[in-house]
Structures are given as C-alpha cells and as structure tokens.
Symmetry: C2
Subunit: 381 residues, 2 copies
C-alpha cells in the first residue's frame, strides 16, 4: 500500500425523515443563513417550504440566493459572495445537487476572503477560512456533499475549473433518498455515471494491487452498476435511491484512493471542457469521454483495465470490460459518442485546447498534451 | 437501507515514515503533552527515542505515563488523570496498541471532568469535553485509533466496561505499518481476530441485504482473512502489515454499519468477561467465543450466516462457513475452545453472571440473559 493522509469530518444524516434535524443543526452553526438553491425545483416539490419551516422553528434568519445553474457560473457565485458579506450571514445552507453545493462552497470561501473568489480556482490564493456549510442533497452524483472540492464555470473565460480546500468540507450533510424520487431519469443516470467514474478513474489510474482499497472501490462501482438502472426505471424505489446516494457520497469522499495513489481524473478533466463549451450535462459528457479514455489507455493501463472488467462487470478481458461498461451506459440512455450530442470531429481541436488549460492547472500536462487529448477525443467521436 | 448518522473526524497519516510529522501535529494541539505508553516495548524498539526526538524538535514539553497494561486498568487510568490535571497538560499522546489508546482516551476525558472517570463507564456521567488526543499505533486490531470508544477494566469490581463519546475521537492518528513488524505472531493473530470480529459481528447481527455496506464489510473481512496468516508467518511483510492495519482501523470506524443497523457486539460482550476473569488476550477470547455464538445463532441469524459463509470464505452453508472460520483461527494458532485456555465447564456460570452485567449496561439483556450466555459458552467448551 502507498502512503496516504485521510481526513473527512463531514457529519452525515442519512435516511427518510432526517430533515427534521435540519433547523437544529443549522442553528448550532449560526443565527443567519444564506439559503442557496437552484432553478426552483425545490419550490415545486415542497422542499423549499420544509426547509423554511425548519429554519423558522429553529429561529434562524435567512437570506435567499436561488437560481444556481446546473453548471454553476462565476457571475452568480460573485453575487452570492456579495450577498453573504453584505448581509453578514454566518452559515451557508445549500439545498440542491452538486452544482448548488459547489456554488455554496465557493461563496463560503469568498465570504471570508479579501480577494476575488476566482483567484482560488487559478491557485493565486488559498482558502484559509470559510463560513460553515450545511447541505441538503437532492440529486446523487457529484459527491460534493461529502468532500471539500468544487467546480465553477467562468463564463467570460469559458473555463470550468475546480479545486479543493479543507475548510470547505460541509459541517453537516442531510441525505434523504426520498428527496431524489423526483429526479428525472436522465439526471438520475448522469448522476450515477458521475459517481461511477469518480471511482473507475481512480481504479484505472492507480496501483490496483491492494486488496482493501480495491475491494471498497469495486463494492461502490458494483452497487452503482446494479442500482442505477433500477432508479431510472423506478424513480420511487427507496433501496435503489438509497444505495445510489450513499455510493455517490463515498465515491469521492477520499476513502477510495487511500493506499493506491492520488486522486487522478483525466476523463473528468476532458469532460469539463465539453460541458464548458457545449450544453451537455457533466454525467452525459463523462459517458462519452470515459470509454474513449479507456480505449486510449488499453496498453498503458492494461492491468487496471483487466481488473476493472473482472472486478466490476465479471467479464474477462479489456475489450469485454469496456463493452460491458458501454452497454450499461446505453441501458441508462446515456450518449456514448460525441456525435450523439451533435459534436463534430472538426470541433475536437477546440475542445482539446480548452481541456489542456485544465491539464496544466491540475498538473497533468506532462502526459495530457493537446495531442493526446485530441487522440482520446477522436476515440469518442 | 436503514437510517444512520456517520461522523468520523480522525485525521489519519498512513505509511512508512509518517512519524516525521508527529512533533508538528502534536505542537498544533498544545505545548505540554502527557506521553502515554505501555510496558516498555517501545523502549526496546527505539520508538520511544523517536517520539521524544519529535517532541523535543517541535518544542513540546512532556510528562510520561508509562506502564499501561494489555487490559488497561482503572487504577492506572486514575493515576494518569491525576497526573494530567496536576501537570496541566494540554494534549494526550498515546503510543502503543489499543490498550494504550483506550487508557489515553479515559485520561483525556477524566482530565476535563470533575467526577471520577469510572462514572463515564457506568453511564452516571457523560463526556462533554476532553483533552485532544494524538495516537501512534503499534499493534493493529482494536481500531481505537480511528474511533471514539474505549474499554477499561475495573479491577476491584472485576468489570471490563466500555463506552464511546465523540470528544474522544483522536485528532490525529499515525499508522506506520513498519511499527508493527515487531509484534509477535500471537499478538498479530489476536489483533487480526479482534478486527475481523468487529466486522463479522455487525455483519451477522444486522440487515445484511444492502449491497454497499455488505460489500465494504466483506472487503474488510476478506482482506484480514488473506493477510493475517501472512503477517503471522512473515512479520516484516509490509503489504501484509499495511493491509491489516488499514483494515483494522476501518473495521470499527463506523463506516461498516452505515445502513444496516446499529453496532452490536454480543461475542465481544461475552469475551470481555472472559478476559476480565482470566489471563487471556481479548483476541484469543474472541476466537473462542465468536464461533460458539455463531453456532447458537444458526437459526436466528440464518440468512446472515449463509451470506457470511459465501461472502467471506466462498463456501456454501452455515456449518461450512463456521468451519472455515475455525480453520482460519487454527491456522493463526488461536485457541478455539474454552478448554484450550484451561477454563472448565464448571467455570461457565461465573463467566455468564459477569457477562450479564455488561449485557445490562449495553442494553442487550432482553435477549442475552444469563441462561442464553451460558448456552453460548457451553458451545465454546
């Protein structure tokens, strides 16, 4: 096993009805909250009212910051930072999916900083402090509810950048699987693919010869493979929603790569450019890029891809493994080729140039040059 | 999946050489430490000198509290509390196995309390605050380095009691597998059995029909089954020591029972009396009690024991599973019968009476009556 540091102080309340503790937990952290949410689905489902009731009962004042976009943008984040500063809030409450939680994290950092919040994404400044964050998760997938990472899109620069900082671990995250019953089939699938690739990318890039982390990673991936199609077909299947929710949280909480190497996400890196440049969901983009990445790496990651085939899909051989993976993606109605989302081969150079920026920012540019990224994208065409 | 709360804020530094950060981490938590250790093996191995060097380099003053016994006792714990109070230390540094860490936790709690430290064990008082704890682990097994629980023996009352309290999570734990190279074969085996049963007891007592927690539990158990015999035979096999160390920490860190029910440890409960009354190592006692407990529960825990046979040992059927488990225990040179440690059938009533006290304290006495405990022990004879 390789050396590692593991630290994850997020307190998780999981299960049906856990929201009844929300007010109490928020009130432990402050008297005035910035209530961050998305495009209004929480108003349609009644969750908004339940949250407001919890805050009122606990005597927590709040200011609203709704309208977070599915790929959260810098301009709206900056507005949130301004609001948090002006209103002097002392806790950030994020109610939504990974996008809402990510923007909430950026606001929590920005509210305690003198610099512009984008400086953190370009590694010009470091997050030393942040407002405490509480999350109520409504879509399984990103794992943001149980980690210290975030991704924001700078619209002007057309850059989708991310970073992590320990002050950004949520203090408490509420995971009630019933809150995901209303997530539509496509978003359910994309979330599952996102979570799956958080593990498969680590598995396929690291030293897979260590039983315990290998076993944990395979358990998470097999759980997602089994239950995602069920949740897509039966949106109110509690067990499916619950297994997916916990698997997604564990997938990026840090436990998977303990002992096998560092978190490495090359397919994510390339996908970020796809969804920065085109109107495509992150999970859909991953369904396209990840199999292509695997094909490109079939020699360089031979051992890992063979283990992946056997350990996750129970088949022998790299090609059989990738085929099983693609069959599963299609079962989930995910696009698996760039052409499925209307991206042409002639668009590839621009995507590759964009992705290379992130390759540099993430310190992966020694291997992931523009040329290599182009070749990978060609395998996704 | 069942509802759960998960929270584990311990920061783990894992791997060869991580001790080079010890001084720095301790100094973040205080200027004066109580340095708790056991019967002196750390002086023979040179670890004592390395720890002292780290503390001196970081400018941390320290007071020593050596002599913690393998089953740590209340009288010595009380001395530690007195010392911590008198010397006004602000951090507890535990260097040793689970016993040392457990006593360190009791001291950390006692040093901040007005009541007698034993009151916590009898649930007459609740730990609201504690001195921060740093641990350096030298024996894999109890998992104390990554949880908030502890067990202490009250010699006068012949009671081995335990409890958990969140202020007792270590702040930082250093897990260097090379520090366990010198652990003798028997202690290596007993530690592995302890860790294994932390998972198998949960697995066999809970609702095992949930893929993700089931998969995680099986991964931990299979890792221990594979690597414990290797570590016993090849004490300096790094991979074996590393896999065992991380498996032992995860085994009782709380992640295993997320979604399947509460932590339930009936075999541990009965074993505590065995090692309170006789000079037997905890892991050796578990190797005797756990298969007996499984035999007693073969009907009541049919589904779980069938899954255990298949999921951990790859065999079909309850009896085959228990036999495989016993074969593994014998391969580790563990005793598997009370007679192996010189306990006679006529001693069983006294052990059962003693265990019943803990059954009451742990809220398990509805099922685990004196009669039931006797019957289980008869199956261990």
């Amino acid at each position: 096993m390789k050396n590692f540091r593991y630290f994850n102080p997020v307190c998780i309340y999981f299960g049906k009805g856990v929201l009844s503790r929300l007010g109490k937990e928020v009130s432990k952290l402050g008297k005035k909250a910035l209530f961050v949410y998305g495009m209004g689905s929480i108003k349609r489902t009644g969750l908004y009212d339940r949250v407001v009731e919890q805050l009122k009962e606990a005597g927590v004042e709040f200011v609203e910051h709704g309208g977070v976009k599915p790929n959260p943008v810098l301009s709206h984040t900056r507005e949130g930072v301004e609001k948090a500063k002006k209103e002097n809030v002392d806790v950030i409450l994020a109610v939504g999916g990974g996008s809402v939680i990510d923007e909430a994290k950026a606001i929590a950092a920005g509210a305690k900083a003198d610099c512009d919040v984008w400086d953190f994404f370009e590694f010009k400044a470091i997050v030393k402090d942040a407002l405490p964050i509480v999350t109520v998760l409504t879509i399984s997938g990103t794992g943001s509810e149980m980690n210290a990472g975030l991704v924001i899109t700078n619209e002007e620069k057309k850059a989708k950048f991310g970073f992590r900082a320990e002050p950004l671990y949520p203090k408490v995250s509420f995971l009630d699987p019933t809150l995901t019953f209303t997530v539509p089939p496509d978003q359910t699938a994309y979330g599952a693919v996102d979570a799956f690739t958080h593990v498969s990318e680590v598995y396929c890039n690291c030293d897979v010869n260590h039983d315990l982390p290998k076993g944990i990673m395979e358990s998470i991936m097999k759980t997602i493979v089994k239950w995602a199609p069920v949740a897509v077909k039966e949106p109110e299947n509690y067990e499916a929603r619950a297994e997916l929710m916990w698997a997604s949280s564990l997938a990026l909480c840090g436990i998977t790569w303990c002992g096998v190497g560092d978190l490495t996400l090359p397919a994510h890196m390339i996908e970020h450019s796809l969804s920065a440049l085109y109107d495509v969901a992150h999970g859909a983009g991953l369904a396209i890029v990840t199999p292509g990445w695997m094909k490109y790496m079939r020699e360089a990651r031979k051992e890992q891809l063979e283990a992946f085939a056997k350990g996750v899909f129970g088949v022998e051989g790299i090609d059989e493994g990738i085929e099983s993976f693609e069959r599963w993606l299609k079962e989930l109605n995910c696009p698996t080729r760039l052409s499925d989302i209307g991206v042409k081969s002639s668009d590839i150079p621009e995507i590759a140039e964009n992705a290379y920026q992130l390759s540099v920012a993430w310190g992966m540019s020694d291997f992931y040059t523009v040329e290599v990224i182009k070749e990978i994208l060609n395998l996704c065409a």
